[in-house]
């Protein structure tokens, strides 16, 4: 198990380094500086700006500085929002974004996996068809359609929940965003769980467990469920990546002050440090979750530890 974990970590760390290097190189070498979109500056002002932000140094020096600063958790100043450092901007929004994402993943697991089990057990029945159709719909609809549609229905028509905005300590503002974000993940988990449980229920060891006279519930709990949940576990890594990207839309749709909107605004303003800081934080988060999912998978399935 330890060597499996080390092997997984040995894959994740270089990936993060490559991402840091790649995004640094891409952004520094590309045409279009952060001051290109404003009115033309005099050469002297321009040179001063470049000097203050270190943009006149050789690339290697900029890179070394950047890596050193990253190690200290310093992402540098934001170029578009002059009064803030990138670290402050990320720190402001990240707790809300993390709450949103975590709640969405939890809700998706709590709804998706039981739904998949119910569909598999009712195979061919009305419940199965209804759940499968619902899952297909949930997977096909993009969040930027379901989000506004849910806000229209539950916010504007039924007046059950607030349409948008955020008040600290008022969880009802998070209900629609979390549901919207969880919907596709829950649908995908339900589909995966249904398919794999059906497969497991056809295996010989489940049949022999039945032959020994064990009841349906006991077979399900003690024999079928653990192997049937493996695909769902390995999907959790990609699911986190999905939730991270989805949260950008959700924060835009529901006007939440999370960190995702800084990524979008940073790209529009061509604010290198902000975009890079966000990408690196989000990439580290995604890789970390992928790693955790891999480790849980390895723990559940000893066969996966041998490559």
């Amino acid at each position: 198990m330890l060597s499996y974990a080390l092997r997984r970590i040995a894959v994740a760390v270089p990936t993060l380094l490559v991402i840091i290097t790649l995004s640094f190189a891409l952004q520094r070498l590309a045409p279009g500086g952060p001051f290109d979109q404003e009115q033309t500056l005099t050469p002297a002002v321009r040179a001063n700006l470049d000097r203050v932000y270190g943009l006149d140094r050789p690339l290697a020096v900029q890179y070394a500085h950047y890596l050193g600063a990253l190690a200290r958790g310093d992402f540098g100043p934001s170029l578009s929002q002059r009064d803030f450092t990138v670290g402050e901007l990320i720190g402001q929004g990240l707790p809300l974004s993390a709450t949103l994402g975590l709640a969405a993943v939890l809700l998706a697991i709590l709804v998706g996996i039981p739904a998949g089990i119910a569909a598999a057990l009712a195979r061919g029945g009305a419940t199965d068809y209804a759940l499968t159709a619902l899952a297909a719909l949930g997977i096909a609809l993009p969040t930027f359609v379901t989000g506004p549609a849910l806000a229209l229905l539950f916010g504007l028509h039924l007046h059950w929940l607030p349409v948008a905005g955020w008040e600290r300590g008022a969880p009802r503002y998070l209900v629609l965003p979390v549901v919207t974000l969880a919907l596709p993940v829950a649908a995908y988990l339900a589909r995966l769980t249904r398919a794999s449980l059906l497969e497991v229920l056809r295996t010989n060891y489940v049949r022999s467990a039945r032959a020994r006279g064990l009841g349906g519930a006991r077979v399900l709990w003690h024999h079928a469920l653990r192997p049937a949940l493996l695909p769902a576990v390995s999907y959790l890594g990609p699911a986190v990546a999905f939730v991270v990207t989805g949260s950008l839309v959700i924060e835009t749709v529901f006007g939440l002050p999370g960190s995702g909107r800084y990524l979008v605004q940073g790209a529009i303003d061509r604010d290198y440090p902000l975009v890079m800081g966000m990408v690196i934080v989000y990439a580290a988060l995604t890789l970390g979750c992928n790693l955790t999912a891999d480790l849980v998978y390895g723990w559940l399935d000893p066969g996966a530890r041998r490559e």
């Binding site: 993009p142 349409v163 790209a267 604010d271 975009v275």
Partner: protein, 289 residues
């Protein structure tokens, strides 16, 4: 030789027959064709352009007897024309981006699989690294770098992330093909690697590639509308389904049709393409059923 050619044609005719027998896939194909024709023919036939303003009908709700069937936005622009214009743009961008990304993925995966060794490892490792990042980051980095607004940039950005899946699948298939006797025979008779790639590997990958190309198109439509929704893709006054949905979401309190019309078209388009892709997969690969 003749027999082989006949068998090859047989596969495609067989696939077409199987596809035609699936009611859902057939309906999707008909609906898609109708939608495409409508998107191509209706906007030029309408008295309104995608950016023409009608001052007498601002934020008008839809109605069959109204001057604008699907209503207008706050500036009096015809939503019917703008939505169909958006469908056309989405289709155009997604078809081009799919062609580019499937092309890159095919070349990359087949080459890596065929060459082998260190080169293969490096090439596929690169794919793994890009794959482990959510695609949006790559697109956002690219649009930070290149700037936004031009359709060419949008194309590059979405094609740059679309080829990864194709490359992986083609790579796997090539590895399987490489072990087959006919490749060995070609090598033994002295056919160069490029010749093996063009004459033997690529034709055998055609079925897989057609399926994934079809499934890539709705993906690309999603990428495009997603980026345009966030303001990183197609810009005003041009209309894409993504930026129409964004504009509609902001006005949904007073003008819900501005959200519902483009959203309905997007869902219809994605649904048809996904059904068609699933149908093609079943038709071309009977084992999948």
């Amino acid at each position: 030789m003749n027999e082989a050619a006949a068998a090859g044609r047989g596969l495609w005719r067989d696939a077409a027959r199987r596809l035609g027998a699936k009611r859902a896939a057939r309906a999707a194909l008909v609906l898609l064709a109708a939608l495409t024709l409508l998107a191509l023919l209706a906007p030029p036939a309408s008295p309104w352009g995608y950016d023409s303003l009608d001052w007498r009908h601002l934020a008008q709700p839809p109605g069959l007897t109204a001057a604008h069937w699907f209503g207008t936005d706050r500036l009096g622009r015809d939503l019917f024309v703008r939505t169909l214009y958006g469908v056309r743009l989405s289709l155009l961008i997604s078809l081009l981006a799919s062609a580019i990304s499937v092309g890159i993925g095919l070349a990359w995966g087949a080459l890596a699989g065929l060459v082998g060794g260190r080169t293969e490892e490096g090439m596929m490792r690169f794919v793994d690294v890009l794959y482990s990042l959510p695609y949006l980051f790559i697109v956002i980095i690219l649009s930070t770098v290149i700037g936004r607004g031009s359709i060419a940039v949008l194309l590059i950005a979405i094609a740059a992330v679309g080829w990864l899946t194709t490359a992986r699948i083609v790579h796997g298939q090539t590895l399987q093909l490489k072990r087959r006797e006919f490749i060995e025979a070609a090598r033994a008779t002295g056919v160069p690697t490029a010749g093996i790639l063009v004459r033997h590997i690529l034709p055998n990958l055609a079925g897989t590639v057609v399926v994934y190309a079809t499934l890539t198109v709705p993906q690309m439509i999603l990428f495009e509308s997603f980026l345009s929704f966030l303001g990183l893709g197609v810009q005003e006054p041009h209309a894409s389904l993504g930026n129409l949905i964004n504009a509609g979401a902001q006005e949904m309190e007073s003008a819900p049709w501005m959200l519902l019309v483009p959203a309905a078209f997007l869902v219809l388009l994605l649904g048809c393409l996904n059904l068609l892709g699933d149908g093609l997969r079943d038709a071309l690969d009977p084992r999948e059923r």
